[in-house]
C-alpha cells in the first residue's frame, strides 16, 4: 500500500545509518530512528490537517448544525448528530452553550447527547495522532466505533425520557425563548467570509494547536523512543497484553485525567503497541482521553442533574471498555 509517510521514514533512516553510522536494529539506532521519524511526521500532519480543518470549519457554524437537527426525534436524528459531530469544532468550553442552545431550539435530548459525545471524541488532534502513529485503518476504526457509541448512547438517553434530570432552568429558558425569540442572535446574518478570511482562520487554528501541543508531542515521542529501543517486549506483554483482563478498564481509568495531554501520551502508546500492547486497549484509552474529559464533566454539571451526569459517564465508560474488549478478542 502507498505510504504517504515514506519520505519521513527514508530521511530518518538515512540520518541514523549514514550520518551517525548506527545500525537501525541497535538499541540507540532504533530509538533515534523512532524519534527522528515520528517528530517531523506528526508535526507536519498537525500543521497541515489543523489548517484544513480550521479553514473548512468556518462553513459549519453551530447555528447551522442546530437547524439541521431541530425536531429530529428518532434514530435518524442520533445518526445525523453523531456524523455532524465528526466535522464540527468542539471545545469543552463551549459544551454548555451548545447544550442549552440545542435544547432551546427543540433538538431532542438524546440527539443533543449524540452530538456532545461524538464531537470531542473525533477531534482533529486525536485523529491526526492516530493516523500518523497507527495508520489510516486504525483511525477509521476509531472514528467508526466512536460514532457508533455516540449514536447508541444518545439513543438510549433519548428512550429513557429523563428530561427531568436536566437542570430546570434550561427548560425555563426554552419556554421563554418560544414566547420571545432572541431575534438579534438568530437573525444575525452570518458574516460572509472571504476565502482569505477562511484561510486566516485555518492558519490561526493551525498555529494555535501547534503552539499548544508541540512540546508534548516531542517529549512524548522521546519517551516512546526510549521504550522502543530499550524496554524488552516481554515486559509489556506481561503487564498490558491481551490476556490481562484488567488492562482495558485500567487504560480507561488512566485516560480520564489525561485530557490535555493526548498529544504527549499517544506516542508513548505507539511504542507500547510495538511491544505487544493490543490495539483494543489503545482505542479504549484514546476514547477515554477524548470523550471522558474531566473539564467537560465538571462544566456539564452546571446543566445536568447528578443522575444524568452519572448516566452520561456510565454509558461512555461501559461502551468504551466494551469496544476495547471486542477489539482485543477479534484481533487475537
Amino acid at each position: 500500500m502507498f505510504d504517504p509517510f515514506y519520505p519521513f521514514d527514508w530521511l530518518a533512516t538515512q540520518i541514523v545509518t549514514q550520518l551517525l553510522g548506527l545500525s537501525i536494529t541497535s538499541h540507540l539506532g532504533s530509538s533515534l530512528h523512532f524519534f527522528l521519524y515520528d517528530v517531523p511526521k506528526v508535526l507536519t500532519l498537525l500543521i497541515v490537517i489543523s489548517f484544513l480543518v480550521g479553514t473548512f470549519q468556518s462553513f459549519l457554524e453551530p447555528e447551522r448544525v442546530r437547524f439541521l437537527l431541530q425536531g429530529k426525534r428518532t434514530f435518524v436524528g442520533n445518526i445525523l448528530a453523531a456524523l455532524v459531530g465528526i466535522v464540527t469544532p468542539f471545545c469543552s468550553c463551549s459544551a454548555v452553550p451548545l447544550f442549552i442552545g440545542f435544547l432551546e431550539a427543540g433538538v431532542p435530548l438524546g440527539v443533543t447527547f449524540s452530538y456532545l459525545m461524538a464531537a470531542p471524541m473525533v477531534n482533529e488532534v486525536a485523529v491526526i495522532l492516530l493516523w500518523g502513529l497507527f495508520g489510516l485503518k486504525v483511525t477509521l476504526i476509531y472514528i467508526g466505533f466512536g460514532v457508533g457509541l455516540a449514536i447508541v448512547s444518545g439513543y438510549i438517553i433519548g428512550q429513557l425520557k429523563i428530561e427531568k434530570w436536566v437542570e430546570p432552568f434550561v427548560w425555563e429558558l426554552q419556554k421563554a425563548r418560544q414566547v420571545t425569540p432572541l431575534e438579534d442572535a438568530d437573525t444575525l446574518e452570518p458574516v460572509a467570509l472571504t476565502w482569505r478570511q477562511r484561510f486566516e482562520q485555518g492558519q490561526f487554528q493551525s498555529s494555535e494547536i501547534l503552539r499548544s501541543v508541540w512540546l508534548y508531542v516531542v517529549i512524548g515521542i522521546a519517551i516512546g523512543a526510549g521504550i522502543h529501543g530499550y524496554v524488552p517486549t516481554d515486559f509489556i506483554t506481561q503487564y498490558a497484553g491481551a490476556d490481562n483482563p484488567l488492562a482495558v478498564p485500567l487504560a480507561v481509568v488512566l485516560g480520564v485525567p489525561l485530557y490535555a495531554n493526548i498529544a504527549g501520551v499517544m506516542p508513548i502508546t505507539e511504542a507500547l503497541v510495538n511491544k505487544g500492547m493490543p490495539m483494543g486497549t489503545v482505542l479504549a484509552f484514546t476514547m477515554a482521553v477524548t470523550a471522558l474529559s474531566l473539564p467537560e464533566i465538571v462544566i456539564l454539571k452546571k446543566v445536568l442533574r447528578p443522575q444524568l451526569l452519572a448516566m452520561f459517564v456510565g454509558l461512555m465508560t461501559v461502551g468504551i471498555i466494551s469496544i476495547g474488549y471486542i477489539f482485543n478478542a477479534l484481533l487475537t
Partner: protein, 80 residues
C-alpha cells in the same frame, strides 16, 4: 457622550482575550468611552443566544460570534 456597553462572551480561551484586546483597541481608536466586560459563565453566554465563542455584544446586542473580529471590523459597529 454616552458610554457604550461592550461584552466579550468567552470562557477565557486565548481567542477571547484577543477579542477583548481588539475591542478595546477599536474603542481607543475612535476615542469613545466604553465599559468592557468579560462574561465567562457559560450559562450567561447561553442566555444571550450564543453557542460559539468568542462572541461580542454591543449595548446588549450580539454582533458577532464564533470568531475573533479585528479592531477595524469592530469600529463601524461602534459608530451608530
Amino acid at each position: 457622550m454616552e458610554t457604550i456597553k461592550i461584552e466579550i462572551l468567552g470562557t477565557g480561551c486565548k481567542k477571547c482575550q484577543q477579542l477583548e484586546t481588539n475591542a478595546k483597541e477599536a474603542v481607543a481608536n475612535l476615542k469613545l468611552t466604553a465599559e468592557v466586560s468579560h462574561i465567562t459563565d457559560p450559562i450567561e453566554i447561553a442566555k444571550r443566544g450564543v453557542m460559539s465563542t468568542p462572541a461580542l455584544t454591543i449595548n446588549g446586542k450580539v454582533v458577532s460570534k464564533g470568531h475573533v473580529m479585528s479592531p477595524e471590523q469592530i469600529q463601524p459597529l461602534l459608530q451608530h
